[in-house]
């Protein structure tokens, strides 16, 4: 390495090969090892940080859930729906007003997590997150970092209780909302369950496991996540699409309709039958009459006239095809199963004709049908449905203002449909189909439905409507699983609840 002392002679290093070189290599290896540690730290502290630190088993989240007294939940009149009490160890757990609110308020349990509004607004109720990023930074320094918020809902405990009582032992759902603001007053789902027993650590396990095994599915919030064949109540959607798009006007009649009442309507070689309204005889019906008698043939023809693409498009404006913008997660309502080659995703004209009166692959949630009625009731303007009026925390109160979701229809068209729905309840022809929906001293508009489910067994019973028809303040949607004809079960429930609403609202 240093040249020779004499030409031709090599300098030999002392025979101690490379301890310095191997030490250097060890130094590099250790640097790489510590680089790997740095990379691992970066992975957990940056890449996975937000995921881990908000996970349910994170110490901060668990501690907050265990020790924080969740904010109270009240109804629109200030009545407590959910509040916290201390167990024998001084740790808080939840109590609930009644079983009737279980489908919407849900539960918060140390063992089984949360559901319903307790889940949707967990962060606000425990106060672990805050909308303000500065607060978010500061709260890490606080002894009690959480700022639990009290939540005032739009619900009415009175009407909610009445709805559950009216549904009785049946499985089903009732939605009532204010069409002018989108405030939901009732979001009932039966069967109900005892949320207090789930929240109470002493009874949580037994209660929860029994409910989970219950074949009647009490944990399914039917109002938002139940998917039902709509039957004739879907005719209001078809009417919105047909009249809204201009494919049909209120005076439109179909000359083949009276004949088809007997022999059936031939569509692409497939015979669509109807025979439920012998009173109208051989007269060709207009829109109001067809609605009044719930004429399948008229609506099938109107649907064909409108076309699959326009029916799907207008249904989409009402909220079909996507989860609804709502406080709770909602199931998607559909006009068709989709994937077909015909316009709008229908398989063919037969499916479209059947869908037009709600009897093909159409599936809806009760909340969606309430929004359909709400659109008609509110002059064509669809308000965004919501369940919370205000949050109140340390920093003050934040109120939730009503929001227009979208204008669906011109108010004139909405008025035409509303008029038809009034006739369906109040008119001579409609009475037979909506018995029990009428309320003395108030004009009710509505549409019943009888959703054939195929096979044996009773159909699902439907009613959607609103009141008072002149200046609608309340919308209602009722579905009773296997409740029979709409007139038999859902319409009377609607009548009872509208009566209850009238008393509650002092109208």
């Amino acid at each position: 390495m240093l040249g020779g002392t004499a030409p031709g002679n090599a300098v030999r290093p002392a025979p101690r090969p490379g301890i310095g070189a191997t030490l250097g290599r060890i130094g590099i290896a250790m640097s790489i090892a510590f680089g790997a540690l740095a990379a691992a730290a970066g992975y957990w502290q940056v890449w996975r940080a937000s995921e881990l630190s908000s996970a349910p088993d994170d110490a901060a989240v668990v501690a907050a859930g265990r020790n924080v007294v969740r904010g109270e939940i009240t109804d629109r009149d200030g009545k407590r729906l959910a509040w916290s009490v201390d167990d024998e160890n001084g740790e808080p757990y939840r109590k609930y007003l009644s079983r009737s609110i279980s489908g919407v308020v849900g539960y918060a349990s140390r063992l089984y997590g949360t559901a319903g509004l307790e889940r949707a607004y967990d962060a606000e109720l425990t106060g672990v997150t805050s909308a303000d990023p500065v607060q978010e930074l500061l709260k890490k320094l606080r002894s009690n970092p959480s700022d639990p918020q009290a939540m005032r809902t739009t619900l009415s405990a009175t009407l909610q209780g009445a709805a559950v009582k009216a549904l009785g032992g049946d499985s089903g759902a009732v939605v009532m909302l204010d069409p002018r603001t989108g405030e939901v007053l009732v979001l009932a789902s039966t069967p109900v369950y005892d949320a207090s027993a789930i929240a109470n650590p002493a009874t949580a396990k037994v209660t929860f496991q029994a409910l989970r095994a219950d074949p009647s599915q009490p944990f399914l919030p039917r109002a938002t996540q139940g998917q039902y064949v709509p039957g004739s109540v879907f005719k209001i959607v078809t009417a919105i699409a047909a009249l809204g798009s201009g494919a049909v006007n209120p005076e439109t009649t179909f000359k083949q309709q009276p004949g088809a009442e007997r022999g059936g309507l031939l569509v692409s070689g497939f015979r669509i039958r109807d025979g439920n309204h012998p009173k109208t005889g051989t007269r060709a019906l207009n829109f109001v009459e067809a609605t009044e008698v719930s004429c399948n043939i008229w609506f099938a023809l109107a649907g064909l006239e409108t076309g699959g693409d326009r029916l799907a498009e207008w249904a989409g404006r009402l909220g079909f095809g996507a989860p609804l913008p709502f406080d709770l997660p909602t199931a998607v309502s559909q006009v068709t199963g989709g994937g077909g080659d015909a316009p709008g995703g229908f398989k063919d004209a037969v499916e479209l004709a059947n869908a037009a009166y709600g009897q093909a692959e159409t599936l809806v949630t009760p909340l969606q049908m309430a929004l359909v009625a709400s659109t008609v009731a509110n002059g064509g303007i669809l308000m965004q449905p919501h369940l919370v009026q205000a949050f109140t925390g340390r920093a003050g109160t934040r109120t939730v203002a009503p929001e227009v979701w979208r204008r669906v229809l011109p108010s004139a068209v909405a008025g035409e449909i509303a008029a038809a729905m009034v006739e369906a309840v109040q008119g001579d022809l409609g009475r037979a189909y909506t018995t029990g929906a009428r309320v003395s001293g108030m004009t009710v508009a509505g549409k019943s439905g009888t959703a054939e489910l195929g096979g044996t067994g009773a159909p699902n019973s439907w009613f959607i409507g609103f009141a008072p028809a002149e200046n609608p303040e309340i919308v209602i949607a009722v579905v009773v699983e296997r409740g029979g004809r709409g007139a038999e079960r859902a319409a009377p429930i609607a009548g009872t609840l509208l009566k209850a609403w009238k008393a509650w609202a002092g109208r």
Partner: protein, 471 residues
């Protein structure tokens, strides 16, 4: 060599050491103040408790910094030309440990409380560093009695096997009268001393030889024999003591030193293969090994059971994020038991606690400090005057570096979690005193000699050495 000659004081300034100690002390004061303020804020106490800067247990910090400066003063007085970086670096690590132990629930240690007990051990550790760095001038007592040391180490190990007290399923602690300690901490130093003596002595002879076994070229017998012995010792530690960490540490240091000596990667590969094979067998037959490995592969599968510690450690890192929550604002003290607390936090997971409160930035700084210790030790090794001192210095610095790596990587789910301590940060006397011994030896080994040479009569040591050198 006469004592009077040795003990004539010729003070030598150590400017770099002093400057680094001042920076380290300032950092610790800032940390302590941030801890104190956070604590008062959290407790809702008045924020200006007295005149001047509020400190978290200012007395403890003052004693600690005073201890460091005293050590510095003693090293100045002895006037040796030794390393000036190691003392401030481990001093800073120890100071971080002091802040952390002040901050954790004090009832984790009985008696004086966690913070105060740790302060006592830290002062002890500094004393050991200083004493060894000031007094050890000859390495003969290590070099000449390597077999005695080895026998002592094996004896210590066997004693622990037989008489060790089992704590948390690990038979690590030896109790003799009022004293208790973990011999495996001392064992690692003894191993390095023995290996340095053994490998340096046999090196020249063996670099070119190898044993043939059929078609395979094996390491020469004098390497093979200790390799097999080490392998057996490591696996027996796993089986009997259930101490995966110590086994990993001892075996890793052994392989690295073997590589340093022979520059043959094949020996290391062979050793690794043997270790992994042994581990694979143990995975099948030893439930505690299987549990550890399974937890490592997916801790989230049993996040409330066996994987709880690891999962909560990862959550702690995640909560820390980049900047950390700040000292005193993390969640390590929620309970010590589920939910929230990490069991054995002060011994096994201080790195996770620091990750939460100091964030990624702090974690990188701490890793950097360990890397400084390693690189400095290797530098001392590279400039050592002979093989023994080179291997010794390399081994000592790697003992600290590899140990820090193993436990930090375990905390970060990079390798299976093991229960060894994070040098100079974990709570515990055995660990602090032994690591003090290691750093003291490193500083002593870095001695570049007194400037004017002593009279050449001082070479009796060398003569004795050469007489015994070749057995």
């Amino acid at each position: 060599m006469t004592l009077t000659a040795e003990w004539r004081l010729r003070p030598r300034l150590r400017r770099r050491e002093l400057a680094l100690l001042i920076v380290a002390s300032l950092a610790l004061v800032a940390g302590s103040a941030s801890l104190a303020l956070t604590r008062r804020y959290v407790a809702g106490e008045p924020l200006t408790g007295g005149p001047g800067l509020p400190l978290a247990n200012g007395t403890a910090l003052a004693i600690y910094i005073g201890g460091l400066l005293t050590a510095h003063g003693i090293l100045v007085l002895t006037g040796r030309r030794t390393d000036q970086i190691l003392l401030p670096t481990v001093g800073l690590l120890g100071g971080i440990s002091l802040l952390l132990m002040e901050r954790l629930p004090q009832d984790l240690a009985g008696g004086l409380g966690l913070g105060t007990t740790q302060l006592v051990w830290l002062i002890g550790s500094i004393a050991v560093i200083t004493a060894i760095a000031a007094l050890v001038r000859s390495d003969a007592w290590l070099r000449l009695y390597k077999y005695t040391w080895a026998a002592f180490g094996v004896g210590l190990l066997l004693l622990t096997f037989v008489a060790g007290r089992e704590i948390n399923g690990q038979r690590l602690t030896l109790v003799i009268g009022p004293l208790s300690g973990q011999p495996s901490e001392l064992l690692k130093v003894i191993l390095v001393v023995f290996l340095a003596g053994y490998l340096s002595e046999n090196r020249a002879l063996l670099v070119e030889q190898s044993t043939r076994l059929g078609p395979f070229r094996l390491p020469p017998l004098p390497y093979l024999a200790p390799m097999v012995a080490m392998w057996a010792i490591a696996l027996s530690i796993v089986v009997v003591q259930r101490d995966l960490g110590a086994a990993l540490l001892l075996f890793a240091v052994f392989l690295i030193l073997l590589y340093v000596t022979t520059a043959r990667l094949s020996f290391v590969v062979l050793g690794l293969v043997a270790f992994v094979a042994g581990g694979a067998v143990l995975y099948q037959v030893a439930p505690h090994v299987r549990t550890r490995i399974d937890i490592w592969i997916d801790p989230f599968a049993a996040s409330l059971g066996a994987g709880y510690q690891v999962v909560q450690a990862l959550h702690a890192f995640a909560r820390g994020g980049i900047l950390g929550t700040g000292l005193g604002a993390g969640l390590p003290d929620v309970g010590g038991l589920p939910p929230g607390g990490i069991p054995a936090l002060h011994t096994d997971f201080p790195f996770a606690a620091l990750g939460e409160e100091l964030g990624l930035i702090g974690v990188l700084a701490i890793l950097g400090l360990y890397l400084v210790v390693i690189e400095r030790g290797l530098r001392i090794a590279a400039s050592a005057v002979d093989d023994f001192r080179a291997i010794l210095a390399a081994g000592l610095s790697l003992v600290i570096g590899v140990q820090a790596f193993i436990i930090a990587a375990g905390n970060l789910k990079l390798i299976p979690l093991t229960g060894i301590t994070l040098p100079f940060i974990s709570y515990g006397g055995s660990s602090l005193l032994t690591n003090g011994l290691v750093v003291g030896l490193l500083i002593a080994l870095s001695d570049r000699g007194a400037e004017p040479p002593p009279p050449p009569t001082a070479s009796r040591g060398v003569r004795r050495l050469m007489d015994r050198g070749a057995p």
